[in-house]
Amino acid sequence: MQTISMNINGVSVSGEVEDRTLLVQFLRENLRLTGTHVGCDTSQCGACVVHVDGVSVKSCTILAVQSDGCEVVTIEGLATGSHLHPMQQAFKDNHGLQCGFCTPGMVMSAIDIVNRNGCDVDEATVRKELEGNICRCTGYHNIVKSVQAGAKNMGG
């Protein structure tokens, strides 16, 4: 067991983990931050995407100990009170979610896409960049619309 600490959604946390504990397990099991989901076991689906030190990471692909000392943002850390993050709001406005299971990972990836590609990111780029996030409900049409609208919102 190792003791690790990190800043999660602006709060300093620490905990005891086994070496084999994944970051997603630390979030879900130790901290009960259950907004980050697990949809596969091969790092394909992207339901577990969080931000580690400002970039999107599949939290099932890194060990909790690797995140020691990092700043982590999860889906729970985006909204300010009842005020949704512009990307969350865009997903709501554009019906970018149905069952909601892939949604946290989609939103976290979407923000990272905008951070890297700017607020005028085009449809083809969004589709290519979302390749690591699988959704079975929406057919992606409205997710792509949401990401582009969210990108504009993020630009203010």
Partner: protein
């Protein structure tokens, strides 16, 4: 129209919790003292279980129990059941092999459940599972649908000779054969409907808790139908009496049919939590989902159409072998029979149809309903065959459809395969879709593509489906063990807000919004004061759940009926309070008014009055809370035409969908935004089947597509955006005028895509999934 009422694209009430990570899915549930279950599964497709030694596993760190089929049998827990009878052509019921939740003596597919390890942590359970020692005696496996019933095949179940579950002929064979004898032309097609793994993004899970004080089991489970789960677990598996079993389907991350069924893991978790008097949680990983979720489709079929010299369909003959897997899943028998053969008329006037379905057992995971269930298989077969007919007759695919459509004036239309279609305007949907797709401009686009060395193709699919799964009388006659009505309760609280309890279940469809729209429209209560509650047998009245695009068409009507009862009761209360005759009370926009006066009470005031009945006369009952059940007279029959345009690179076999247009008839739309989302999702599910997804077992019954590394799910860059429009008609038997929309895309898309690819390549047929390799080979052989 009320603000936020019928027809408004209201933003969803459920979204905030999903967008902020506050959803409550089964695996998110954690309770004090919780243990974790992990299943030991068969690595063999077919084997005798000589012995299971659990001693080392039991002694492993953190292990609470290791349980096997013997323990289950000792406690009198019954086998899993299949709830629909299909009578075979020998007059006997379908063959139903014993399906124990934990194997007893034999395993029949890779992933079959052999033992369960329950430990203080999941890691400990997994570690211990590796120490369960099992002596398997491997048997030859049956893995192929096409040959499973051949005489030289290994027999899987003693009660099912030749691995046959049933042989189910339907229609007048002699009459059909006679037409084929004299027909101008006979078009034929052999095809495979590829096996799919349904893959909702949330894997299945179950969390059981036993209260020894009340002797009640609470089972949170990924279900589309909590009451059906409770009924089966109680009545057939003897888990607990119904009133001592609470089943909760909390937020469920997609279903698409695969979460209708009662699975071994859920039963075992419910049983183990009481046996051990400890909470037990099990969550499937994705590989387990591939191995042990019920799969979908998997048909091998031959279709023939007899035509006259004008291209009119005279008779159709279909021979199908359907793979049901190793055991019968909960509703499996009805999928390739009633939900398939009864849709073979499609949108056409074909007067005679003969179908024979051979349902076979194999050493593969059970196969059951998956988005569309039987209807995609029927539509794919028919709409591919129609294109072959068009080619054989030298007609445009649109023209041959026009010549055979059921005319508008013929509705309600009795097909030769049981179903009586409610309403439809098939030509209108076709023409609108052709316009949307710029069908007339296709030749020029194909020419332009050719100049770039690319092959363009365009494909149509005109589908019809049976939705609003009910009515009880019809499904009862067919052999269903349940009725298929729906229930609702609409309850005003004294302060005027409303709770709507529905027997349906939402796992992405947005019922919390759509149903609130129905209520705000009818009762005039602001939508923010309406809460829709579903998915908990302790909260809602008995309901049948959600599948077969039934929630609005059946459950929505039950809600509307409960609202009508509230209005009737409200008139009595308002009459008393306003000192008027009941007959003089009118209701509109949330207000009860004495006709011709300005005396009025809002429905919220009536609700308060109903709970403060200080001076009620005899006969006026307090309270403002009504329930209703709705059992429709017929299915609903959504229909439409989808047009897919593809560009194929003959050098690589890669297929790009360059344009996809869908025109559907869903009747009246309550929330167009949600409906459109359902269409998009369905289309991509269908495109996935057509281009990417194919569940593969090898000859030994090993699943070789058991992860997202090996099984290609559609991703954002595989598909385009879509053009969606509607050509609605009014189904006369549905009081809300609605039909259902959840499966349409998955039904319409596969033939539209394959018709387009066949058109592009100039080949008669290419089987799904049309992967780059398959398309490249077809392109080479065509060239």
């Amino acid at each position: 129209m009320a603000e936020n009422g019928i027809g408004a694209s209201v933003r969803r009430k459920e979204d905030n919790r999903f967008l902020t990570g506050k959803g409550n899915y089964t695996d998110d549930i954690n309770v004090v003292g919780q243990t974790y279950a992990y299943f030991v599964r068969s690595p063999y497709a077919h084997a005798i279980l000589n012995s299971i030694d659990t001693s080392a596993a039991s002694a492993s760190d953190g292990v609470v129990a290791v349980l096997t089929g013997d323990d289950l049998a000792e406690d009198g827990i019954g086998p899993l059941i299949c709830g629909v009878n299909v009578t075979s052509d020998d007059g006997e019921p379908h063959r139903a092999p014993l399906h124990p939740a934990l194997a007893q003596g034999k395993v029949n597919y890779v992933g079959d459940h052999v033992a369960v390890v329950i430990a203080e942590s999941l890691a400990q359970a997994k570690d211990a599972a590796e120490k369960v020692s099992i002596d398997y005696e491997e048997l030859p496996a049956v893995a192929s649908t096409a040959t499973a019933a051949e005489e030289n095949q290994q027999q899987i179940h003693d009660i099912a000779p030749n691995n046959m579950c049933y042989n189910w002929p339907f229609g007048d064979k002699a009459a059909v054969d006679a037409v084929f004898e004299t027909a101008h032309k006979i078009s034929t097609l052999d095809l495979i409907n590829n096996r799919m793994v349904t893959n909702p993004m949330e894997p299945r899970a179950a969390a059981g808790e036993y209260n020894s004080g009340t002797e009640e089991i609470t089972l949170h489970v990924t279900t589309q139908n909590p009451h059906v789960h409770r009924l089966i677990l109680s009545a057939f598996n003897q888990l607990a009496p119904e009133h001592k079993l609470r089943v909760v389907g909390p937020d469920v991350g997609g279903g698409f049919g695969v979460k209708i069924f009662v699975y071994a893991e859920e039963l075992v978790v419910g049983w183990a939590c009481r046996k051990l008097n400890r909470p037990v949680k099990w969550t499937s990983d994705r590989t387990e989902a591939f191995l042990a979720d019920a799969h979908g489709r998997d048909h091998v079929a031959t279709a023939e159409m007899a035509l006259d010299d004008q291209g009119k369909f005279l008779a159709m003959r279909v021979n199908t072998t359907a793979n049901l897997g190793a055991y019968l899943s909960t509703f499996s028998t009805m999928v390739p029979s009633y939900l398939y053969a009864f849709l073979l008329a499609g949108q056409y006037t074909t007067p005679l149809i003969y179908s024979e379905v051979k349902a076979v057992f194999t050493n593969t995971a059970p196969v059951d309903a998956a988005r569309g269930a039987g209807r995609p298989e029927a539509t794919y077969l028919l709409e591919r065959l129609v294109d072959v007919c068009a080619e054989d007759m030298g007609l445009d695919p649109a023209e041959i459809r026009r010549r055979n459509f059921i005319p508008v004036e013929a509705f309600p239309y009795q097909t030769p395969v049981v179903q009586c279609y409610d309403s439809g305007d098939y030509p209108a949907a076709l023409e609108k879709a052709l316009q949307l797709a710029d069908y007339d401009g296709f030749a020029a686009r194909a020419e332009e593509a050719k100049s770039r060395g690319m092959l363009r193709g365009i494909g149509l699919s005109s589908y019809v489906e049976a939705c609003g799964i009910a009515p009880s009388a019809a499904v009862g006659q067919l052999g269903a063990g349940v009725g298929l009505w729906e229930s609702a309760q609409v309850r005003f609280n004294p302060t005027g807000n409303v709770q709507v309890f529905t027997g349906t279940h939402s796992h992405g469809q947005g019922h919390e919004t759509t149903f609130a729209q129905l209520v705000t429209e009818q009762l005039g209560v602001p939508i923010e004061n309406i809460e829709v509650i579903h998915g908990d047998t302790a909260k809602t009245q008995f309901g049948m759940g959600t599948y077969g695009s039934r929630s609005l068409a059946v459950g929505g009507v039950a809600i509307a009926k409960a609202c009508e009862k509230l209005i009737e009761k409200g008139k009595k209360i308002a009459a008393h309070a306003l000192e008027a005759a009941e007959g003089d009370i009118e209701f509109a926009d949330g207000d009860f008014t004495v006709a011709g006066t300005d005396k009025a009470m809002n429905i919220a005031e009536v609700a308060f009055n109903a709970y403060v009945p200080h001076s009620y006369p005899e006969g006026l009952e307090p309270g403002f809370d009504e329930n209703a059940f709705f059992d429709p007279l017929n299915f609903s029959f959504p229909a439409g035409t989808h047009v897919c345009e593809v560009e194929v690179d003959p050098e690589t076999g890669e297929v790009e969908i360059v344009k996809y247009s869908a025109v559907d008839d869903f009747g009246k739309l309550i929330n167009p935004m949600i409906v459109e989302g359902q269409v998009h999702g369905g289309i991509v599910h269908g495109v996935g089947q057509a281009l990417l997804e194919g569940c593969q077992y090898d000859d030994d019954g090993q699943l070789i597509t058991a992860s997202y590394m090996d099984y290609a799910m559609p991703r954002a860059d595989n598909v385009p955006s879509f053009d969606v429009d509607y050509a609605p008609t009014n189904p006369p038997h549905n009081p809300l005028g609605v039909k259902g929309c959840g499966e349409a895309g998955a039904i319409g898309a596969p033939p539209a895509v394959i018709n387009a690819i066949s058109n592009a390549l100039g080949v008669k047929h290419i089987d799904m999934p049309a992967t780059p390799e398959a398309v490249w080979r077809a392109a080479q052989s065509a060239a």
